[in-house]
Amino acid sequence: MPTITYVQPSGQSDTVTVEDNTSLMRAAVANNVNGIVGECGGQAMCATCHVYVRPEFADALPDISEDEEEMLDCTTAERTDASRLGCQVRVSTELDGIVVDIPEGQV
């Protein structure tokens, strides 16, 4: 089962182990990781599961869909090249050990 590490703006981190194919948003919400809201339940509709994916994992990420693209323009914290919606990134073997930074705010 893959692991995911969430790094808070404070530097504190949480590492969780999840079933294959779980999204970064769902894994965070299920494990009470602070700073990921996931208001819309994973429909790429609310932009409250914004994360910054560390560059070493960028090549293994899925492409950004049109829905995710427009929603990334609506994030509360600044959008960067590393920005993704947690609900649109599912973690399996290729992304095992992925590290993401949680932004300062989601709302």
Binding site: M25, R26, E39, G41, Q43, M45, E70
Partner: protein, 438 residues
């Protein structure tokens, strides 16, 4: 448990299969009677569940006038009550409302005996996934931020100019709700839906008549007659528009729906839900936000000085007075919600208006304060039923209407001799708001 994650099949706590998702597993274990909790369960939550207290002191006229002191008393006593006057369990804590939103298997939107189904047909709002998702997806990108930016924003600007002109023409003393917010929201909604054969006045009449049907717990025959007449008018308008939109497609909901293999019955029900939900809410949040700012001149000055704060003022208003204050759910099995035992088939009212003022989450929750620490409110709902019109509302109210009206109406203020009136609980907003300006 929505569409994602490994444990979509997790169901009733009494089915025998424990979910693999840790949160769901914890919730199931926490819902079991204390003496059935085995090893590996959540140790801090082993207190025996209580039965919901009966709030026989709650009356509908008091809820209508001002529900917030009632919600406070209920929240302080227990997160869930049986409320005889409303004939429902009312859920008033943030944690309990949030838990319901995250668990559509136990808390179904598909309520039996729903008045909304009678008034509007069986829309996506009263369906669970996967049926709900088919309908939701049928709305395509019409209500999404990309289409708003490329298409709707300019239309909202134009409509806002028109209805602000009409308000100005009426002169000081005009009613902010009925002379501006209502026609503005209705005209935006008319175009979003694609009713090119109807007027904004039609939209207002349809919306109110069907909403009255949805809330017709007294089974008043006259209310049903008006609701059924409005419903028939909407059916006729849809039938009339579909052939035109097939030949002349645009960005509207009906145009997108016209070319999809969605049953006409669903198209009709979903459009009626949208007419009901897409008019009062932007109208009421616009009036409530302006009313709150006019009542707090220091905060208004901050908003006028920093245009980014329009969005903050809007969001705080949705928290403070959620325009949809309560929505229904029904349990699919016996369950325990935040320590309160609820039977199978129970009809619940998820009281967002109370959850959004829960002091466990919000400091000084009864106050309107745009400078409060930012926390997610539940005003747009959550999970699979998260409000589809959220971004449309933010755009038409916070981006377009608010900056323009404070610019256009210098010295905008409430009329000290003719007070505004707020009312309602399932839907809450200003029912009268006379304003003056320089």
């Amino acid at each position: 448990m929505n569409v994602q994650g490994p444990s979509e099949t997790a169901a009733c706590p009494f089915s025998g299969n424990l979910p693999t998702d840790p949160t769901e597993r914890a919730a199931v274990l926490a819902s079991l009677p204390a003496d059935h909790v085995g090893s590996g369960s959540v140790a801090e939550n082993t207190e025996a569940p209580i039965d919901p207290p009966v709030a026989d002191w709650v009356t509908i006229p008091e809820l209508h006038r001002n529900p917030f002191p009632i919600y406070r008393r209920m929240r302080e006593e227990a997160p869930v009550h049986w409320v005889p006057a409303v004939n429902r369990y009312m859920v008033t804590s943030y944690a309990a409302c949030h838990a319901i939103e995250q668990d559509a298997d136990v808390f179904s939107a598909n309520e039996t005996g729903s008045l909304m189904k009678r008034a509007m047909g069986h829309s996506m709002l009263r369906k669970d996934d996967p049926e709900h998702k088919v309908d939701r997806d049928s709305y395509g990108s019409t209500l999404r931020p990309g289409t708003i930016k490329k298409h709707w924003a300019a239309i909202f600007e134009e409509n806002n100019r028109k209805y602000l002109d009409e308000l100005v023409a009426k002169g000081p003393g005009a009613d902010f709700v009925w002379d501006y917010a209502a026609p503005y929201a209705a005209e935006n909604l008319r175009l979003i839906c694609g009713f090119h054969n109807s007027t904004q006045e039609d939209l207002q009449r349809w919306s109110q008549s069907m909403i009255d049907g949805t809330g017709n717990y007294a089974d008043d025959a006259d209310v049903w007659a008006k609701s059924e007449a409005a419903s028939a008018e909407v059916d006729a308008a849809i039938d009339d528009m579909i052939p035109y939109l097939l030949k002349n497609p645009d960005h509207s909901l009906l145009s997108g729906l016209a070319s999809l293999p969605i049953p006409l019955e669903s198209v009709r029900a979903n459009l009626k839900m949208t007419i009901g939900g897409g008019l009062n809410e932007p109208r009421d949040v616009l009036a409530t936000t302006v009313w709150a700012l006019l009542s707090h001149p220091d905060q208004l000055a901050d908003v006028v000085a920093d245009s980014k704060l329009h969005a903050t003022a809007f969001e705080e208003s949705v928290r403070w007075v959620a325009p949809i204050g309560m929505y229904p759910r029904q349990t699919t099995c016996e369950t325990v919600l935040e320590g309160v035992r609820i039977p199978e088939g129970a009809r619940l009212g998820v009281v967002l208006g109370a959850a959004n003022r829960d002091p466990a989450v919000f400091v000084d929750p009864e106050s309107y304060n745009i400078h409060r620490a930012k926390k997610p409110h539940l005003g747009f709902g959550g999970g699979q039923h998260f409000c589809a019109g959220t971004w449309i509302a933010r755009a038409q109210v916070a981006q377009v209407a608010m900056p323009a009206l404070f610019d256009r109406l210098p010295g905008l203020r409430l009329d000290p001799d003719n007070a505004a009136v707020d009312a309602g609980w399932v839907f809450r907003g200003l029912i009268k708001m006379p304003v003056l300006w320089d």
